[in-house]
């Protein structure tokens, strides 16, 4: 197995190589109606490779990647769980592969799939309705914030501020600002959670909403959530619950019951759709009853057995995405939920939380635990007292064939190591991970320089990120010729 980077495809390119098989053209060139000055003369340096070379190239690239199918990925906040293969089989079937503008009576099956997922998500979360259109969590956040703003504006009570805890994911403040809100940071207490009294201090009539992740990015359940929701509602403010950590209590509690007015979910986290190296995802947004009419189009409805679609809203178009959303991601999530069923859905969160707590208990003697509150599905350690940096430990883990945990997030923990095993890991894997961590911490005590030089056995060693940011080579270009 070749573990070296293959040459860039542009360097293997030769004029005349063919990678595809095309039918002979049937229509003569002279039918072209566009004048020559509108036509492109050439695509300079665009690759030409044979099929064989393309297969070798990408097969060799595959050998360089770690993946969930290959090993452990305990990334906190990412919920890197196993991606079921039956989901792939069903999603790739041609029955669903319609043009999104197909007349709806021809695609009732696709509409049923979307509506079925929506209804299942409503049952799991106790929200009144969902839009499946956002393409990712951040997209969902922006959509959800806009729903809040539309709702308050329609009430004649447009407010300017969104409160966000100091532990929040960066997309929270970014999304708020893109919705025209100002953000104010609100501190968590020494146990890592938000207190009602602190909220009251930061609350005024200008606060539109509080954006909270539950459990928060420390993996701790915001146990004051019901009181927090009450305080907000009494103030005419709304509660946005970022559902990125839904894997911690899916099937155990419902955000709607806890007082959430708007939530988003990440299908590529909790609902097992593949991460694909950074997407595609899907970020459905669920809302409470009073906000349903502000959801973006298109809206799918049942009328008896027939599915219909509405493309316009009385409040003006608030469309956030082309067509219906990431349909092929949506269908995978539906297959996943239908396979779990009522018999297994609760076990997901129970095992996820059990796994995280097992790791916590085993590593507690070796690492600093900044927050002693109960962990749910993820646990956070800091780098306090270590002879090496969190980054160094992460890189050394790579040498042992595992992917490290999330590092340096959330910002409120120094040298944060956020570990989320998920429920799809065996006890053997967890024990292996624990052993590796103990070994590395021991290595760090005895020979810090060795750990600081990791990784050693990966296809490339530690990469120079400073050079990357300064040189900014973001594309290949042919070497300068004498005429350049």
């Amino acid at each position: 197995m070749n573990k070296q980077l293959p040459e860039l495809m542009f360097l293997k390119s030769r004029d005349g190589k063919e990678g595809c098989s095309l039918s002979a053209p049937e229509i003569a060139d002279d039918l072209c109606v566009l004048a020559a000055d509108k036509l492109r003369k050439d695509i300079a340096d665009f690759p030409q490779l044979s099929e064989v070379e393309i297969v070798r190239h990408y097969t060799n690239l595959a050998h360089l990647n770690h993946s969930v199918d290959a090993g452990f990925y305990p990334l906190g906040s990412c919920t890197m769980k196993y991606n079921p293969k039956i989901n792939e089989k069903i999603a790739n079937q041609p029955e669903w592969n319609a043009h999104p503008y197909s007349p709806i009576h021809l695609v009732q099956g696709n509409l049923e799939i979307m509506k079925s997922l929506e209804e299942l998500l409503m049952k799991i979360t106790a929200m009144a309705a969902f839009t499946l259109t956002p393409a990712a969590g951040a997209h969902g956040e922006l959509t959800g914030l806009r729903v809040i703003r539309d709702y308050l504006t329609a009430k004649g009570d447009a407010r300017k501020i969104v409160l966000i805890p100091d532990s929040a994911h960066g997309t929270n403040p970014a999304s708020s600002v893109l919705c025209g809100y100002q953000t104010k940071e609100i501190p968590s207490n020494e146990n890592g959670i938000l207190e009602g009294e602190t909220l009251k201090k930061h609350l005024d009539k200008d606060v539109a909403a509080l954006m909270i992740t539950n459990p928060n990015t420390l993996g701790i359940f915001e146990k004051n959530i019901v009181e927090i929701a009450r305080i907000l509602h009494e103030n005419g403010s709304l509660l946005y619950m970022d559902g990125a950590n839904m894997n911690a209590f899916m099937g155990i509690a419902k955000p709607g019951d806890l007082g959430a007015d708007v939530i988003h979910l990440n299908l590529h986290k909790t609902f097992a759709t593949p991460h694909g190296g950074g997407g595609p995802g899907s970020g459905p947004v669920g809302v409470a009853k009073d906000l349903v009419k502000f959801l973006p189009v298109p809206i799918i409805t049942h009328e008896g057995k027939e599915y219909k679609v509405r493309y316009h809203n009385e409040s003006g178009s608030n469309r956030v995405k082309n067509f219906y959303g990431n349909f092929l991601v949506i269908i995978r999530a539906l297959v996943y939920l239908l396979e779990l069923g009522k018999e297994n859905i609760r076990q997901v969160a129970e095992d996820a939380v059990l796994n995280a707590n097992y790791i916590r208990k085993k590593l507690e003697p070796y690492l600093d635990l900044p927050y002693k509150s109960k962990s749910l599905h993820e646990v956070i350690f800091s780098d306090k007292g270590l002879t090496v940096k969190t980054l160094d430990i992460a890189k050394r883990i790579l040498d042992y064939g595992m992917h490290p945990f999330t590092i340096y997030f959330p910002l409120i923990v120094h040298g944060a190591m956020m570990i989320e095993p998920t429920e799809t890991e065996s006890k053997e894997t967890l024990d292996q991970f624990i052993d590796i961590m103990i070994k590395i911490l021991d290595e760090a005590k005895k020979d810090p320089a060795f750990v600081q030089g990791a990784p050693y056995s990966t296809p490339v060693t530690r990469l120079d990120e400073v050079m990357a940011a300064k040189q900014l080579i973001l594309r290949w270009k042919p070497a300068a010729t004498k005429t350049n």
Binding site: E95, A138, R146, G279, L354
Partner: protein
């Protein structure tokens, strides 16, 4: 359950280690009256064969398979070589996380670097990012970028941009302090009225965003538009919804466009009922530090070997937080990677060939359908891959129903987007269509009284 590897014995051991009797105790922070709700209203678990049966049953309710379709308008049916499926579905590409640990992600990273290169080559721009959600949101990101970079408040948008893209841009701008004005198109030619554009550009205009080929399939005068905007210190932003057109038409870079945004679904992604698709943005290098999305950059490792990393992350939300230009995090990475495979597979000659076929098929249809007198091609000049067909007697819905009865989806009725256009449809041709398919369409149209 096959995705839950813990055995009951192991759970017992783990509980003992943790020091609890029941797993429930770990959830004690959740208010008792709101936890461990009844699961009765959830469906029963399905086995693998039951899942296949259930989805077969749902699939039977989709009756579009077997229809001859000429639907386009921002989603295009293209032939996807089997190689693209085979390679992109490898689990090493489908199941990894975002490459934040680059040492074990060089496969994804190099593939994305190659994709970024090809997109820059195709658009004729300096740099391209590694994906946005889709064409519509890419257009919205494009105008926000132009507004933020220029520090101006006003943006102009062409009236003949895909209506969904306009809706999305309006949604994005709604609560930001910006003003958006529409520049109308000439109903005779389907093209923009450049004189009207000139009149609307003022000192506070950040730029003008237009689509070419436009929503009606007509190629706009990109060079003239860019020149006009630059003379007034504004940015020229082009939307491309049919990415394949980049292989046939003069690329935006050569027309001095500043930002190119659009949809690259045509590069190997199935129609998939609308998603996941592939937004893209490509630009002149001056935009680099404010561009949304991720970038892969080349560097060296500690031994001096070539390697790739995500770079310029300081632009992104996880660092800039409330000062980020965009909030995008998860994007369409796998789709972009797959598009890279498609582009490598088609190669320069393959792309040029099918891009030309898309146009010639459209031209052939126009030639043949012009022999009929119950329809008329509305914009006969400068179209690329789509044409607007006017139904001469009666309304489009009736016309389309008659064709649907013959299992032909002839086009998209434009009254879906423009309520007063009761008698026009948008018809698209790609290399999927053989000559006999086009003949079949023409004949079927001819048979309608």
């Amino acid at each position: 359950m096959r995705y839950l590897p813990l055995t009951e014995t192991e759970r017992e051991e783990m509980r003992k280690t943790i020091g609890i009797k029941e797993t429930k105790e770990l959830f004690s922070d959740i208010p008792k009256d709101k936890s461990y709700f009844s699961l009765a209203d959830l469906p029963a678990a399905l086995s693998e064969s039951e899942l296949l049966d259930k989805f077969k049953e749902i699939g039977r309710k989709n009756i579009f398979p077997g229809f001859l379709s000429f639907l386009g308008a921002g989603a295009y049916q293209h032939f996807i070589p089997e190689l693209v499926n085979f390679l992109s579905n490898k689990s090493e590409f489908l199941t990894p996380y975002t490459p934040y640990q680059p040492e074990v992600s060089q496969g994804s990273l190099q593939g994305m670097f190659e994709y970024q290169t090809m997109m820059a080559q195709l658009t004729g721009m300096d740099i391209a990012n590694s994906s946005l959600y889709d064409g519509g949101t890419a257009a919205a990101e494009g105008i926000v970028l132009a507004l933020k970079k220029s520090k101006k408040q006003h943006i102009l948008i062409a009236g003949n941009i895909h209506p969904e893209y306009i809706e999305i841009m309006q949604t994005y701008i709604k609560y930001l302090d910006y003003k958006m004005d529409l520049v109308p198109f000439d109903p005779q030619s389907g093209k923009l009225k450049l004189a009207e554009l000139e009149g609307k550009i003022d000192q506070d205009t950040a730029g003008f965003i237009f689509q070419s080929p436009n929503f009606f399939g007509v190629v706009e005068e990109g060079k003239q538009i860019s020149t006009m905007l630059h003379s007034k210190n504004s940015y020229s932003i082009q939307i491309v919804t049919e990415a394949l057109s980049l292989a046939f038409l003069v690329p935006p870079g050569e027309n001095d466009v500043d930002l190119v945004v659009g949809e690259a679904q045509s590069f190997g992604l199935p129609l998939g009922f609308g998603g996941p698709y592939l937004g893209f943005i490509a630009a002149k290098s001056e935009f680099l530090r404010q561009m949304p999305g991720r970038f892969v950059g080349q560097t060296l490792d500690s031994k001096g070997n070539r390697g790739y990393v995500l770079t310029l992350s300081t632009r992104e939300q996880h660092i800039k937080r409330e000062r980020a230009t965009s909030n995008i995090c998860t994007n369409e990475a796998w789709c972009a990677f797959r598009a890279g495979i498609y582009l490598a597979t088609m190669g320069k000659k393959g792309l040029q060939s099918i891009a030309k076929t898309n146009h010639l098929n459209t031209a052939y249809f126009v030639k043949e359908v012009s022999k009929l007198n119950n329809v008329k091609v509305k914009y006969q000049k400068d179209y690329y891959n789509e044409v607007v067909l006017e139904v001469q007697n009666g309304k489009t819905d009736d016309f389309l129903n008659k064709l649907e009865a013959k299992k032909i989806l002839a086009g998209i009725p434009l009254h879906w987007f423009y309520p007063d256009q009761k008698n026009t449809i948008l018809v698209n041709f790609t290399e999927i269509h053989r000559k006999k398919d086009i003949d079949q369409l023409v004949q079927a149209i001819g048979e309608i009284k």
